[in-house]
């Protein structure tokens, strides 16, 4: 079921009708060209954009205007891209990043110290 607000009592109907295909975690989705990746995924009910580097807990967009970096994903192989300020294009390959390789105990002590 789409979560798009196709008709709005004040703003009217959505004019953009130019759907493109993109890949998110190996699955093909459609979105409106140039809308944000976060919006395109949300329209399919997808809220989890990545898993925390350390704890592995799921994360989604928070501020939606580029400040908080909670929505970072990999786009065409480049990591750390903010889904909320990245317009989708035909054929884009998007991936969630998961937990990083755990550090060994000694490194971790250094990091926390």
């Amino acid at each position: 079921m789409t979560r798009r607000i196709l008709d709005h009592p004040v703003l009217g109907k959505i004019e953009n009708n130019n759907y493109v295909s993109f890949i998110f975690n190996n699955k093909v989705y459609k979105g409106l060209e140039n809308e944000s990746l976060a919006a395109a995924l949300l329209s399919h009910g997808i809220r989890t954009l990545r898993y925390h580097e350390d704890s592995g807990s799921p994360r989604g967009f928070y501020c939606n205007i580029g400040h908080c970096y909670e929505c970072r994903v990999s786009v065409n192989g480049q990591s750390g891209i903010r889904a909320c300020v990245t317009p989708i294009k035909e054929g884009m390959i998007v991936e969630s990043n998961g937990p990083l390789q755990p550090l060994n105990k000694e490194d971790r002590r250094l990091e926390n110290g």
Partner: protein, 407 residues
């Protein structure tokens, strides 16, 4: 003729760009978002005369006007740093460097988060995020949500969500802790709400605001505040309830809400569970001023303006040669005030660039900003005028000090 660079394409930046271009100055506007308009894009509310203020329409018109006047836009371009080099401002972006003798920072505002247990779950978002999804991208943030934080912005956005067919179960306070002290305290929140009550269609709230002008009545107001809350646009506003936890396995599934005392303390055993699929956190806005800080502007903490603001005068000049500020970077106010400040900044830039005969226009524009402020429908802080005066006083003190140093 000189050129100007404007960082931020919200109401202040766009209006400044148009004003500069009308005075024959070459303008470049840089913004990290994919659309011009900034926070103006999401705005949607009914004016007292019944007409709708449509942020997308306003943004598009301003953007088109700027483009027609020859303004160049670099959207989707984040600025990483700015510095002064050989009397020019150098702007470092992820798409290369720019330089100019006149730089305007119109970076706007950001939202303060409120820490609540469970707030990292997907489906928890800032209230502004829900606004942008709903009004700009036209995607529902969820089917049914709760808004944590009762203030002008969250009340306005609750109405916008409802307009788009998204159910808002209620607006509540956050559970009080050292960080949420003001946002979690019923009486303090009620105090700030009295200033927006004229927007409310509910006679309870409207009538109440006249009754509650003194401290004693405010206290009574919270004590007698109906446990079920009062309704604004049919949405319950709960000043005596707080969200104590956001729940869900992999994303938001519900929230735990408890009754709180007039001092914000949770009443034991009053917890209940409400099913929702999204949660908005509304911690209020603060000026987004990092670039002014890296440039070396002096800063002052002015609560009435929403936080730390870079020193500036009424002509929108910072204390640094060739650096200007306009819009919410100078204090949290509405889009119309931001646009008026943008016009003043544009005129000041044109004046410095050698355009003759602008003195009276600059004075008029400053006067106009004041008028727009006084007639604003929504005031983010009731004492914004006091805050503005504080900045001007600091400016005078700073300039006097500088003159003494020269002597």
């Amino acid at each position: 003729m000189d050129n100007a660079i404007i960082i931020g394409s919200g109401p202040a930046g766009l209006t400044a760009a148009v004003t500069c271009a009308e005075n024959g100055i070459e303008v470049i506007v840089i913004d990290e978002y994919m659309l011009a308009g900034g926070r103006l894009l999401g705005q949607l509310y009914q004016e007292p005369n019944g007409s709708w203020w449509n942020g997308i329409k306003e943004s598009t018109e301003l953007y088109k006007k700027a483009v027609d006047l020859g303004v160049k836009f670099h959207l989707n371009t984040a600025v990483n740093n700015i510095e002064k080099s050989n009397s020019l401002w150098v702007i470092y972006t992820e798409k290369g460097e720019f330089c100019t003798s006149n730089l305007l920072l119109a970076t706007g505002a950001a939202e303060s988060p409120i820490p609540v247990p469970g707030w990292t779950l997907p489906g928890v978002m800032s209230v502004g995020a829900a606004q942008v999804m709903t009004n700009v991208h036209r995607v529902k943030p969820g089917e049914r949500g709760v808004i944590i934080g009762v203030n002008v912005l969250s009340a306005a956005i609750a109405m916008e969500l409802q307009l788009a067919g998204v159910e808002v179960a209620c607006l509540t306070l956050p559970k009080m802790n050292p960080i949420t002290e003001d946002a979690g305290h019923p009486r303090k929140v009620l105090n700030s709400l009295l200033h927006v009550s004229h927007m409310a269609p509910s006679p309870f709230v409207r009538y109440g605001s006249k009754l509650m002008k003194n401290e004693f009545m405010k206290k009574l107001g919270v004590t007698f505040y109906p446990k079920k809350g009062v309704k604004m646009w049919n949405i319950p506003i709960q000043l005596r309830k707080a969200v104590i936890e956001i729940c869900g396995e992999n994303e938001v599934e519900g929230v735990k809400i408890a009754t709180i005392s007039t001092e914000g303390e949770v009443v034991p055993g009053s917890e209940e569970y409400i099913q929702v699929d999204f949660v908005c956190i509304a911690g209020g806005l603060y000026p987004l001023a990092e670039l002014a800080a890296v440039a070396g502007c002096p800063f002052y903490l002015i609560e009435e303006l929403g936080g730390y603001v870079p020193l500036h005068n009424e002509r929108m000049e910072s204390s640094l040669e060739g650096l200007y500020v306009a819009g919410n970077i100078t204090g949290i106010e509405g889009a119309k005030v931001a646009a008026a400040q943008g016009r003043t900044a544009g005129l000041s830039i044109a004046h410095r660039s050698g355009v003759k005969g602008l003195e009276s226009s600059i004075r008029d524009s400053i006067e106009m900003t004041q008028q727009i402020r006084n007639s604003a429908h929504i005031q983010f802080h009731p004492e914004v005028e006091v805050g503005r005066k504080k900045v001007l006083k600091q400016w005078e003190a700073y300039q006097a000090n500088k003159r003494r140093e020269v002597i």
